[in-house]
Amino acid sequence: MFYPGCDDVSITFLEVLSLLAPSETRNSMSSFNFNAAVTTLQELRASGERNPELVVSLGNKIVRGKYTGGLGDEVWPVYEQIIIAALDVGDFQLADVRYNSASSSPRLTCLTALEKRFTRSTRVQRLLGMRYEAEGKLDQAAKIYEEILDVDETNVPAAKRQIAILNTRGETHEAIAALTRYLDTSYNDPESWLELCSLYLSQRMYQQAAFCMEEVLLLQGSNHVWHLKYAEILYTMAEHKLALKEFCRVIELCEDHVRGLYGVQLCTSQLLKTAPTVDLSDLNALATERILAVYSARGAPDELKRVVRRYLESA
């Protein structure tokens, strides 16, 4: 959806509409389901998924429609979530939305409401820093994060935002160095290993990216998605044997995973060219059969199946 690093590309009307069309239809605006909105926001917060248009559309309704009273103590993480999503979409008005408190005190903004509730909190400072980042004032943001780290050296979010600033500036090598230094101390952080992996992939350093994925697999070994990523990196490095093992692990963890099946099929085809064995050809046939079965089960038209079969035979 978002392509970080692309700067000031002219936006077409269709792109904007697709970016900002909320997932609910226009009719639902009249019957705003508050509880469903709160549940959606909770799920998005738990998973960490980046879906700012949805959060902004729900947040607009909640904050502007004065539904914030119904949230109780949950207001604060919701505010944080709305602020970050608004910064992502570029809606600075929502990030600074006027918040009428019940006791009709002077109108506060979202951010200052948080500041008032949690005085001298590094988390609110981080939000302020992110706001500067979104406006483009990277030096001011960097100063804020340095202040946080002066007070508390082990503050993880501030360190991560410093790396994000390096990413924003486009200084990938410095970002890699900083992230490596950070990971030297906190090595059980899968999110940072994944970030380092994506940085290496952007520089096409596949060996190092594979190492990062191995570290992630040490931490979260039963997640088929990490095995899939590792397998695809290995396939790109032309390590077909190990890639085949990892693709098989993907299918083992998640039955009939189509991407994993394609991986098995391609790996076995490559390996059959050099050292054909009965096992490999059996695996190849099995993968082909399962792919076609999955396509049939999901109701694919015959034309599509013919195309897939031809592709698999030629691969």
């Binding site: 978002f2 970080p4 700067d7 000031d8 590309v9 936006i11 009307f13 904007v16 509409l17 970016l19 900002l20 549940t39 909770q42 799920e43 917060r45 738990a46 998973s47 960490g48 998924e49 980046r50 902004v56 109780g72 949950e74 604060w76 993480p77 944080e80 979530q81 970050i84 608004a86 992502d88 979409v89 570029g90 809606d91 929502l94 992110m130 980042e133 979104a134 993880v156 979010p157 991560k160 790396i163 994000a164 990413n167 924003t168 059980n188 952080d189 899968p190 999110e191 940072s192 994944l194 970030e195 931490l219 979260q220 039963s222 997640n223 998605v225 963890l253 998640c254 039955e255 995973h257």
Partner: protein, 183 residues
């Protein structure tokens, strides 16, 4: 000697009954309070990711309390009332039975009366139904079914490292311009 044995029997049974009554009351009320509090949404505030998840699997498990669980709450409250009433009744009954009279007539403690036992069991039934209504939907026990629903977008999002210099940042302003021009 028979009388002292009788006395001992009475004493122990009375002690057991009162002990049971006083033991069930706080435990049951605390359990009910916990469920009622969850029903009234005084749950832990779900925070955004400060530290990354350290579990080996990262499933998304969310309790989704039903919105209209008034029957469940009502049943839990009535169950609590019945339980506390039966517990108090055993206490009342044991203090009101004249132990001296029983000793004189050479009759042993007859045990809990049937109606109190029935009241206690009925409260258990109320609790069973009430708690099932108040609790959320169950999730599948196999990790695989939960994991197959996870998308790469959800897992590989890395929210602590997001940058804002992407082309979507002009989105809000562009939409405002478009709506102003009535397009």
């Amino acid at each position: 000697m028979a009388t002292t044995d009788c006395e001992k029997d009475i004493k122990t049974s009375v002690q057991i009954n009162t002990g049971v009554a006083w033991a069930t009351l706080p435990t049951s009320s605390s359990i009910c309070m916990i469920f009622l509090m969850r029903a009234y949404r005084m749950q832990d505030i779900k925070t955004t990711r400060e530290a990354p998840p350290t579990e080996s699997l990262s499933p998304i498990i969310i309790m989704s309390p039903k919105d209209a669980n008034w029957p469940g709450r009502f049943l839990c409250v009535t169950g609590l009332l019945l339980l506390s009433h039966s517990a108090y009744s055993t206490y009342e009954r044991t203090t009101r039975t004249d132990l001296a009279y029983l000793k004189a007539v050479d009759r042993s403690e007859t045990g809990l009366p049937l109606d109190i036992i029935i009241e206690c069991l009925v409260s258990v039934l109320f609790f069973m139904v009430g708690v099932t209504l108040v609790a959320g939907d169950l999730k599948e026990i196999l990790m695989e079914t939960e994991m197959s629903k996870q998308t790469i977008d959800k897992l590989d999002a890395r929210p602590s490292f997001i940058t804002f210099n992407h082309r979507g940042r002009k989105g809000a302003r562009a939409l405002k311009t478009l709506t102003k021009r009535n397009l």
